[in-house]
């Protein structure tokens, strides 16, 4: 029986896609400039099916790539040559809601926002909120360690994953973490989250859910420059406050948001969005303090959104920022880099200078509280050389992030897109050490094998317990 027939046997006729017309849908994820046609796509509905598929891959040395909703922005779910794609989209059940312990157990295909929707009637929520949360899956969030605007206060996906059921790259099933904290042993859930599909496939995920804060208020402050807005952010940090979110947009990003969703933002050089949540009395006090700090730093206009509806309007422009840029530029690159927050003015100046030098416009949207930048490099593919210049500029921005002590990715992942940058951010021994981990999980390099690391490596023999050579056993030779 051929490999495909065996897959069909496991999944049934509806669980396997192998005709090129249909597999084409899976040739890329949210990063569309890389495309690879998969050998086949499987759509399992149970852990057992995932296991059976991966066992088969392991037997025949076929690489596999797990895929959630395919919204990733670094090519993490990009197929690999001669490999299959395992789509977890049909494993989308919420298995258990345990409000008393603030836990929820879900399958990987569950959409992020559906987790909150399920517990919202009891006034709970799931904190990580990537901008794609209405379509992205929890499994994908786990693979990428997804962040979002509110991770400044609430942490990333990794903070909220308590336990995982994982099919390892040889098809065995293992359980990481536990519903209780600090399960004895290595924190495998901690290393699995954010491993970008290179260590196995999660089939069941236990998440932490949180009680909704009593009150949420969002302050919108307009400044003449991003530097002034940045100074206000520093003031807020220095005053000892930890907002739920702190977002900044520059003038180009504001224009784009206005053109796309009419967020009614003030037309200014730098827009700051600060969200505070908690008990009413506390939030009232803090928002007053934030207002004062913004005014001291030259804010020309301050608005405070207090109702759910007002807040939704304020957030609309920010959440739509990436897509909005399409309104003011035919093509653009979404970049994701991180700097120590205090380097913000410096890098913005640099980006502006580089943009001017290469004749390209760059809109800037960032999570100002944690220094996560999303420069949007605009270009026109029809103009010869612009795409190349945009790619160059985009990469140069990442190099600047590294030079300033930051990172090449804050939340989008390394995937296919940035693997060549890993050698700039990390030294060879750092990468070799990460390989030790990968080799322990996946010695045959079958799980998303070409991603994250710059060069594919072989794991070599599993260093094991000392195994005496037959000649030693026979007393003919000995080792020194």
């Amino acid at each position: 029986m051929s490999f495909l027939d065996e897959l069909r046997d496991i999944l049934g006729p509806n669980g396997l896609i192998s005709s090129p017309e249909e597999t084409r849908t899976y040739e890329c994820d949210g990063l569309t400039n890389f495309r690879v046609m998969p050998l086949a796509v499987v759509l399992p509905t149970s852990t057992e099916q995932v296991q059976a598929v991966i066992r088969l891959c392991h037997r025949d040395r076929i690489p596999f790539v797990a895929r959630g909703s395919g919204t990733g922005l670094s090519g993490g779910a990009l197929p690999v040559n001669n490999g299959i794609v395992i789509s977890l989209a049909r494993m989308n059940r919420i298995l258990e809601v345990d409000l008393a312990n603030h836990r929820i157990v879900v399958e990987p295909g569950v959409i992020n926002l559906n987790v909150t929707a399920r517990v919202a009637p009891s006034n709970y929520f799931y904190a990580p909120d990537p901008s794609s949360q209405s379509v992205c899956s929890i499994g994908g969030n786990v693979a990428e360690n997804a962040g979002g605007a509110h991770c400044l206060k609430y942490g990333f996906t990794t903070t909220h994953v308590l336990a995982l059921e994982v099919v390892l790259p040889d098809g065995t099933l293992a359980h990481f973490g536990s519903k209780t904290l600090d399960a004895p042993g290595y924190d495998l859930a901690g290393v699995f989250v954010g491993s970008e599909g290179t260590l196995g496939v999660a089939t069941k995920i236990t998440l932490r859910i949180m009680k909704r804060p009593e009150c949420v208020q969002t302050l919108l402050a307009a400044f003449n420059t991003t530097n002034e807005a940045g100074a206000a952010v520093s003031g807020i940090i220095a005053a000892g406050m930890l907002p739920a979110a702190m977002e900044m947009m520059d003038n180009l990003a504001i224009q784009a948001a206005e053109a796309a969703v009419h967020a009614n933002y003030p037309n200014c050089g730098g827009l700051l969005l600060v969200e505070m949540d908690g008990p009413v009395a506390e939030v009232d006090t803090l928002i007053a303090q934030v207002s004062a700090i913004c005014r001291e730093n030259g804010s020309t206009e301050i608005r405070v959104a207090q109702t759910e509806e007002e807040r939704a309007v304020v957030w609309k422009g920010r959440k739509a920022a990436f897509a909005s840029v399409g309104r003011i530029s035919p093509n653009y690159i979404v970049q994701d880099g991180v700097i120590p927050r205090t380097a913000l003015p410096k890098i913005l100046d640099e980006i502006e200078r580089l943009g001017k030098a290469s004749g390209l416009r760059v809109a800037n949207v960032f999570h100002a509280g944690d220094g996560n930048l999303h420069p949007l490099v605009m270009y026109d593919r029809r103009i010869e050389g612009q795409e190349h210049a945009a790619e160059k500029l985009s990469e140069r921005i990442l190099e600047l992030c590294i030079e300033m002590g930051g990172s090449i990715t804050g939340e989008h992942g390394v995937g296919e897109e940035k693997k060549h940058m890993m050698g700039k951010m990390f030294a060879e021994p750092d990468l070799a050490t990460m390989q030790k981990l990968r080799c322990a999980f996946d010695p045959l390099a079958l799980a998303n094998p070409t991603k994250v690391f710059p060069t594919p490596r072989l794991c070599g023999e599993t260093p094991g317990e000392y195994v005496p050579h037959p000649l030693e056993v026979a007393g003919i030779a000995e080792r020194f």
Binding site: E144, T158, P184, V191, E282, R341, T342
Partner: protein, 354 residues
């Protein structure tokens, strides 16, 4: 047994490389406060003390991060951070002696975990010396970073069995402007559980909650941090649920006990039934227990899906539990073999004889 006290990460790596070549076992040691935790090492050839790795390398206060060498004590670190009104939001045991490396390796957090998360959530980068002499860095200096594997989490709670942490970078929190502690006495464990559930389901944001149980009526301590207005409003809300007395943050002083337990928050009362000694259990479900019947207690807790880990030897019980690691134990062993193929680092101290 030989004691070595390297002055740099490089020297630490060099010591490990040489020990590895000789097949000599290395026991990393910080303040020596938790040497009893875990199982006793199978061999102790070299005691590697981090006493000379005690510098705060960089407190980037405006970025709310700090990079600190492994041998710096928690108290010394906190004093440095306090100069800029900040702290590492953990409250481990014996802060005057316990070191950054030791606290990370043993994953010793305290009651602040409810609000600020555990060490795994606060550590954003580490430098590790591996058994083969490699000096490797993971993570970085920024709070948000998903480049490469998060080895900081792998070594947090790994009891030094994968490498020696030589320095670490943490995200920080501002020191609270105001704090207030209140205590509620409840008649029995059932009433305690009911009240605890009510507090956790209310929209309060306490920094810490703990249950004290033993002889006499159980007590629930709640710590609030933040603005005065916020604290008063929350204490008033709590008072509507139960009578309260104002107490002192001293009630949160960590308990040096025989075992650490981890249970689901809604099953704390059940766990503490028939307790012969005393216990402090946090609202996170993590607790510290003094008892003469730890075997029975472990059996009961494990049946509920939790764990009981010894903090000092007890009746030749395995420190971690006979089934610790579960079906992931083979993978944990594989990781250990990749990082420390000759098994020189703290051999036998960790789960499953790792």
């Amino acid at each position: 047994m030989r004691i070595v006290e390297p002055h740099s990460a490089e020297e630490t790596a060099e010591i490990l490389r040489a020990a590895n070549e000789d097949g000599a076992s290395v026991i990393p040691r910080g303040g020596g406060t938790k040497s009893d935790w875990g199982n006793p090492p199978r061999r102790t050839d070299i005691l590697l003390s981090t006493a000379n790795l005690n510098r705060v390398i960089e407190h980037a206060w405006a970025d709310l991060t700090v990079t600190v060498e492994a041998g710096c004590t928690i108290a010394e670190l906190q004093r440095t951070l306090a100069h800029h009104g900040q702290r590492l939001a953990v409250d481990p045991l014996w802060p005057e002696k316990a070191t950054v490396g030791g606290v990370l390796s043993t994953n010793d957090t305290g009651t602040l975990r409810l609000r600020y998360g555990g060490l795994r959530d606060l550590v954003i980068g580490v430098t590790l010396a591996l058994a083969d002499g490699t000096l490797a860095r993971s993570g970085g200096k920024v709070v948000k970073n998903v480049a490469g594997y998060d080895l900081s989490k792998l070594v947090t709670g790994a009891f030094g069995t994968l490498g020696v942490i030589t320095s670490a970078t943490f995200r920080l929190h501002p020191l609270p402007k105001h704090t207030h502690t209140v205590t509620a006495a409840v008649p029995d464990l059932a009433a305690m559980q009911l009240l605890l559930s009510k507090i956790l389901d209310a929209q309060l944001v306490p920094a810490a909650i703990q249950v004290r149980a033993g002889a006499g009526a159980p007590q629930i301590d709640v710590l609030f941090e933040g603005t005065e207005e916020g604290i008063y409003a929350q204490v008033d809300r709590l008072r509507e649920m139960t009578p309260l007395t104002d107490t002192d943050a001293e009630v949160f002083r960590r308990l040096d006990a025989g075992a650490k337990i981890s249970v689901l928050p809604a099953r704390i009362a059940e766990t503490l039934e028939a307790l012969d000694g005393y216990a402090v259990v946090e609202a996170t479900g993590l607790g510290w227990v003094q008892s003469h019947h730890l075997s029975q207690m472990r059996e009961k807790i494990e049946a509920m899906g939790g764990s009981l880990v010894l903090m000092r030897p007890y009746n030749s019980l395995d420190a971690w539990g006979a089934t610790a690691g579960g079906d992931a134990l083979p993978l944990m062993r594989a990781i250990k073999r990749r990082f420390d193929p000759r098994g020189i680092l703290n051999p036998g101290v960790f789960v499953g004889g790792i």
